[in-house]
């Protein structure tokens, strides 16, 4: 191998090694911390949410809403709109959850009724034990 070719190959090797050596730490440095599985439970009193009403809570760091649907019982939904992440608002008169950003509308079951959201609101597990509503 000629000297010039050897030096070119060496430069390419050292250059790519340097690049890779910094690229990996950089990707790890910028990447968000891995999501920890939250297992906390949240307990509410049934008396706090009369029929047709809703209550906003924060469940495992996610803004959520617990709704007492007349005739259908309680449901816990994420408030994060599946379109672009704004928080939906409970509209008692329309019995809907409405996103103020791009006018997406959801039923009280979390299903998409109109607008651009691509999927229903995330639902959290909920059960009623005596006078308590337990989410999670």
């Amino acid at each position: 191998m000629k000297r010039r070719k050897f030096l070119k190959s060496l430069l390419a090797l050292l250059g790519s090694t340097t690049l890779v050596s910094f690229a990996y730490p950089l990707v790890r440095f910028i990447a968000p911390p891995s999501k920890k599985a939250e297992v906390k439970r949240l307990s509410l009193s049934k008396g706090d949410i009369p029929a047709g009403e809703a209550r906003e809570v924060v469940f495992n760091n996610t803004p959520a809403i617990v709704i007492n649907r007349p005739g259908k019982g309680y449901i816990a939904l994420s408030k994060v709109c599946t379109h672009l992440g704004c928080l939906v608002e409970f509209n008692k008169e329309k019995a809907r959850l409405i996103c103020p950003c791009h006018a997406g509308e959801f039923s009280l079951d979390g299903k998409v009724l109109s607008g651009p959201p691509p999927k229903p609101l995330a639902e959290f597990p909920l059960r009623v034990e005596g006078e308590s509503i337990i989410i999670g």
Partner: protein, 378 residues
């Protein structure tokens, strides 16, 4: 007294001549001014739209200076950011002036760059051999918009928080990698103090050198190839086949300095007039209701709207029922505009002789205006 003044001015003049002579000996100042400014000529039929690039540069310098002043008092922490901005506005002497100059300038610079791009398009100046100049200009526009998005979060207001939430959620339209990209942008699942730090670092440390890099490339290309002449007047230097490199010059044109520089200076002053008019008479034009309420991650206000230049894409997203489709269409349109010189390869630069392109141009402009107004009022 008169004698003392005369001596003072004489000594000042003497000093100036010594500095000039010193520079002449060391860097050949006169030759530099003659070759790069006085003998560098521009077409005689240039119009005021040719000054918009210079105005955009001046606007960027104003943003950099006022941004530096704001940095002295701004605290990039989610617990203190909103309060520090309020203190700049209310307690720091003339803090309101530099903040408003920065806020109004951030909007005006986008308007100037938009106008610059529109005029370049209208005059067909993007055509061969200036495709790279056009792309460098587009990259600068994208950097300006990224400046706007990142700077928008820094006051940590309701407006900041929720517009950032929407923007950083856009990558989620794309399967597999979308959520990961959104989380990298935010530094987590939601917009938080981590996002603020990321956007702050981007705004003050990364974007300025990137902008300057594209600016250097843009100006280098303009000087290397030569300024394009308007396709409507008499001068047609640079037209014809372009199969090998040549520099376009205008031996009968005006000197860049002082004639064109003075023209640019007038337009920069007009820019400042507009800026101070807004600051004086409509200071809240670019600071709507949500800009003065601290960020509340648990409440999306009903009145959140993006800045005026994002209203058209915002309205499009509302109208197109599929998120992936809505965002993909916008990205495709963006790519089409950036790469337009490679689609439009015909030699005719005069848009008035190309009725189809003229109609498409006016229709696109009208559509953009309609969507913007609709987005504002809906």
């Amino acid at each position: 007294m008169y004698g003392a003044d005369k001596n003072f001015f004489q000594s000042g003049d003497f000093m100036w001549r010594r500095i000039k002579k010193g520079l002449e000996v060391r860097i050949g100042l006169e030759d530099l001014v003659n070759t790069k400014l006085k003998r560098y000529t521009v077409p005689r039929n240039t119009n005021i739209f040719y000054t918009l690039g210079g105005v955009a540069l001046a606007a960027f310098i104003i943003q950099a200076l006022t941004g530096f002043f704001l940095l002295i008092y701004y605290v990039p922490h989610s617990d203190h950011a909103f309060r520090s901005v309020q203190q700049i506005m209310t307690s720091v002497p003339f803090g309101w002036l530099f903040r408003l100059m920065h806020v109004v300038g951030a909007n005006l610079i986008v308007a100037v760059v938009f106008l610059h791009m529109l005029s370049v398009f209208f005059m067909g100046s993007y055509k061969k051999p200036r495709e790279l100049t056009w792309i460098a200009g587009w990259l600068m526009l994208l950097v300006v918009l990224t400046f706007s998005l990142s700077g928008n979060l820094l006051p940590w207001s309701q407006l900041s928080y929720w517009t950032t939430t929407v923007v950083t959620a856009m990558p989620t339209a794309f399967p597999y990698v979308g959520d990961y990209i959104a989380n990298v942008l935010r530094g987590g699942e939601f917009v938080s103090g981590v996002t603020l730090n990321r956007f702050f670092a981007l705004h003050v440390a990364l974007l300025p050198p990137v902008f300057v890099l594209f600016l250097v490339v843009h100006i280098f290309l303009i000087r290397r190839i030569g300024l394009s002449s308007p396709p409507f007047g008499e001068q047609t230097a640079g037209s014809g086949e372009w199969n090998e490199y040549r520099h376009v010059s205008y031996p009968d044109g005006y000197s860049f300095y002082p004639y064109f520089v003075l023209k640019e200076l007038y337009m920069v002053l007009a820019y400042l007039v507009v800026m101070f008019f807004v600051i004086t008479f409509v200071p809240t034009l670019f600071l709507p209701q949500g800009a003065n309420i601290p960020a509340d991650p648990l409440k999306t206000p009903a009145y959140i709207k993006p800045q005026w230049y994002f209203l058209a894409p915002y309205q499009m997203l509302k109208l197109i029922p599929n998120k992936f489709l809505g965002i993909s269409i916008q990205l495709l349109l963006l790519a089409m505009f950036i790469l337009w010189p490679f689609f439009d390869t015909g030699r005719e630069r005069n848009i008035l002789k190309r009725p189809l392109l003229l109609v498409a141009f006016l229709a696109s402009l009208l559509l953009w205006i309609v969507l913007t107004v609709w987005g504002r009022t809906s």
